[in-house]
């Protein structure tokens, strides 16, 4: 029975090739319920904005909610592959979910385009020809923060992250480009909401700057408490705690903080202007980093569909690798391990007519690839 179905599917797809450009089915697995939903919703909305703008009838997107649980993500990827016959998977926000899904999916011959998570394992020894990160490599934003701290001449920096692999990667990424002295290194609990003890340690440490990586609700809590403590110390961190999805919740406490990202709403290029305006018009809010990454991923995919059929994996892979699209980030290219080579900026949180947003103040790194490309044998 299964064999019969496979042959039919094959026959159908051959008819498709003969007729015209073949349909591409995208399986989007992202977080749409629970506490982490805002990131997934922005990813989806950014992606779907690009899909609707393109109006390409050959592109079909199936969206499922992973509930931020790795097991559910694995089961959904099975569903996308086994039942939906998806050609391309995308959408996962979290590194641990990506680690659960990506190795299996790519080994089954599916393409995976990452809209956000890009753990080091998948950039180095575990790289795969069908896996592309359209966002960054996880270490990038932390590395840029380290570079910026060096450029600013911070002599003693207090560094802090949650105690889990992404947090440990974050601190090692920062230290890779930071030339000053680390005043103290603190790991907090994952999901921790009260930072009084850490703030007291920071005040006491004699550090002249603070670097922290606390994504989502942890960052909101920390920044509010930090502002209350009234410590006069420059703060730098990756964009995750200062992205548009959570800035309104932090409020004025975030103003003036420097954060690193490969994109910003004020980046001056045509594609970005159109994206920011289009997103605001459609969803009535400012786009976040995740929305921008979702949008770029869809545009990359659409550009590949123009030049190759998905059934010809090699040609389609080449078409994605070429990255012939106008990224909202401006220049965009893939490195040898199929992770981006791109500029990473330093942004400052500003209050603009009562709305909090980010503005670029410096470029931390130009054409930055990643630290793991050499380990990738592809």
């Amino acid at each position: 029975m299964t064999r019969y179905l496979t042959t039919t599917a094959l026959a159908l797809s051959m008819i498709g090739t003969a007729a015209m450009a073949e349909p591409v089915k995208v399986g989007m697995i992202t977080t749409l319920s629970g506490g982490g939903a805002s990131l997934g919703i922005d990813t989806r909305d950014g992606f779907m904005l690009a899909v609707e703008e393109a109006g390409n009838p050959e592109l079909e997107v199936v969206i499922e909610d992973d509930q931020q649980k790795p097991e559910v993500a694995v089961q959904l990827s099975d569903k996308m592959i086994q039942s939906e016959n998806a050609d391309v998977l995308t959408g996962i926000v979290w590194s641990n979910l990506a680690m659960a899904v990506v190795p299996g999916a790519t080994r089954q011959g599916k393409f995976y385009l990452s809209t956000n998570a890009a753990p080091s394992q998948l950039a180095g020894k575990g790289c795969h020809e069908n896996y592309f990160s359209v966002s960054y490599q996880n270490d990038n934003l932390h590395e840029a923060a380290g570079q910026y701290a060096t450029d600013e001449g911070y002599a003693r920096t207090f560094i802090m992250a949650p105690n889990y692999p992404a947090g440990q990667d974050s601190l090692s990424g920062f230290k890779r480009f930071y030339e000053g002295e680390v005043a103290s290194e603190v790991y907090t609990q994952l999901g921790q909401t009260d930072y009084a003890a850490e703030i007291a340690q920071i005040r006491d440490s004699g550090a002249d700057a603070l670097f922290f990586f606390l994504p989502g609700g942890m960052g909101i809590s920390f920044m509010k408490q930090w502002a209350e403590a009234g410590i006069d110390m420059p703060v730098v961190g990756p964009a995750f705690s200062f992205s548009q999805d959570i800035l309104p919740a932090i409020g004025e406490a975030a103003v003036g903080v420097k954060n690193t990202a490969q994109w910003s709403p004020d980046l001056d290029n045509e594609a970005n202007k159109a994206f920011v305006a289009g997103f605001e018009e459609k969803y009535d809010r400012l786009p976040s980093l995740y929305a921008a990454q979702g949008y770029d991923t869809a545009r990359l995919l659409l550009s590949a569909m123009e030049t190759a059929d998905v059934s010809d994996s090699d040609a389609f892979r080449e078409a994605i690798r070429a990255a012939e699209f106008d990224s909202v980030r401006g220049d965009f290219a893939f490195g040898p391990n199929q992770h981006p080579v791109q500029d990473i900026y330093v942004r400052e949180v500003i209050s603009e007519d009562g709305t909090l947003t980010n503005r670029i103040v410096a470029t931390a790194m130009e054409d930055r690839g990643d630290a793991y490309a050499e380990e990738c044998s592809m």
Binding site: M1, T2, L5, L32, S33, E64, D65, K69, P70, E71, V74, Q75, D78, K79, Q82, S83, S95, N96, M99, A100, P103, G104, R107, P119, Q121, N163, Y164, P165, A166, Q168, Y187, Q189, L190
Partner: protein, 342 residues
């Protein structure tokens, strides 16, 4: 106290047994029939989903042994589930990466053989349950619920922050482990294997429940003093049940790791302990097939509602609430008796 008194409770239900047995048979046939049916239709994903139901039912069956028969509400069974999963993951990890697990006193390179993994997982689960059970059984009631939760949380936080096997990122198993004579990568063969394990576990529990041990266990729930009067220490009986329960749940964890080809600390989270409890209550606590009925209903609802709306959890909650308020005794109780007494 006479044996007749201990068996009084099951005795009373004998008149209803036939109807309950029909429901049980329907559930077993329903699972196998569903798996085969969707396979014949080429819906491979639904086969995977049915496998998930069967595995969670095994885990629930382990919990049912202590909860349904022994009356111990363990809110930390994710510990054994996760330990079983990690046993499978770690053994396979070493075997697949050709990095020996230990070289002394003899060289051990890990394994990808399911029977070996299962036995190891059950031993690990039993040992953990023996330690946790020995300490936890000093408490009772709500304190027991919370102390089992505490041990579960300890293991959970340890797994998240211990970097050797992936920490929060989890540990992928690139190829499903093997079983002699079967191609476990074929979803329907793996489904068949899991069903066989499930029915073996249920049969074991049925035999246990009718044995002297099972009667003592039920007596331990109903009346500890009486049990002591006939010279049986209820603590010992409960501890043995707890250890068997841990081993069964760990076995389910090992299978779950193979289903997903991935283990992560989320298998150890208290949410999973809660879900196992929910399966049993949904199915009908203390009934042999409760875990299967509960897991099946839970997964089916999750799957069906998930496609309807982003806010599916709201409707899911309403349905659960309706079940607990209006279908007392769970699904099986509802089907087999209309309404459960007592």
């Amino acid at each position: 106290m006479s044996a007749a008194e201990i068996t009084a409770a099951p005795e009373r239900q004998r008149g209803r047994m036939n109807r309950a047995q029909i429901v049980n048979a329907a559930l077993a046939l329903g699972l196998v029939g569903f798996g085969l049916g969707v396979w014949a239709m080429g819906e491979i994903f639904l086969v995977t989903l049915a496998t998930k139901v069967a595995i969670l039912a095994i885990a629930g069956a382990g919990l049912n042994l202590v909860l349904g028969f022994g009356g111990l509400v363990s809110f930390g069974h994710s510990a054994y589930f996760g330990l079983g999963g990690y046993t499978a993951g770690i053994l396979a990890h070493h075997a697949l990466n050709y990095t020996p697990m230990f070289e002394w006193p003899f060289l051990f390179e890990g394994t990808t053989s399911m029977p070996v993994i299962w036995i190891t997982a059950m031993i690990v689960g039993a040992l953990a349950a023996a330690m946790i059970g020995a300490l936890s059984l000093r408490t009772a009631g709500v304190y027991f619920i919370m102390i089992t939760l505490a041990f579960g949380q300890m293991i959970f936080y340890f797994a998240i922050s211990w970097p050797a096997y992936g920490g929060e990122d989890g540990l992928p198993i690139y190829v499903r482990n093997g079983f002699p004579g079967l191609n476990t990568l074929d979803p329907i063969q793996f489904f068949g294997l899991v069903c066989a394990v499930l029915f073996a576990v249920l049969a074991l529990i049925a035999i246990l429940a009718r044995s002297r041990f099972g009667l003592a266990l039920q007596a331990a729930r109903q009346n500890r003093q009486r049990l002591m009067a006939v010279g049986i220490r209820p603590g010992g009986v409960l501890l043995v049940a707890f250890v068997i329960s841990g081993a069964i749940t760990a076995l389910a964890g090992a299978l779950y790791a193979d289903l997903n080809r991935f283990v992560s600390p989320s298998m150890l989270s208290w949410h999973l302990s809660g879900e196992l409890l929910v399966f049993l209550i949904l199915g009908g606590t203390g009934r042999l097939f409760a875990p299967l009925a509960g897991a099946g209903l839970y997964i089916a609802l999750e799957h069906l509602l998930g496609g309807v709306s982003d806010h599916w959890q709201l409707f899911f909650g309403l349905l659960l609430l309706a079940v607990v308020l209006f279908a007392r005794g769970g699904v099986i109780g509802f089907l087999a008796e209309g309404k459960r007494h007592g």
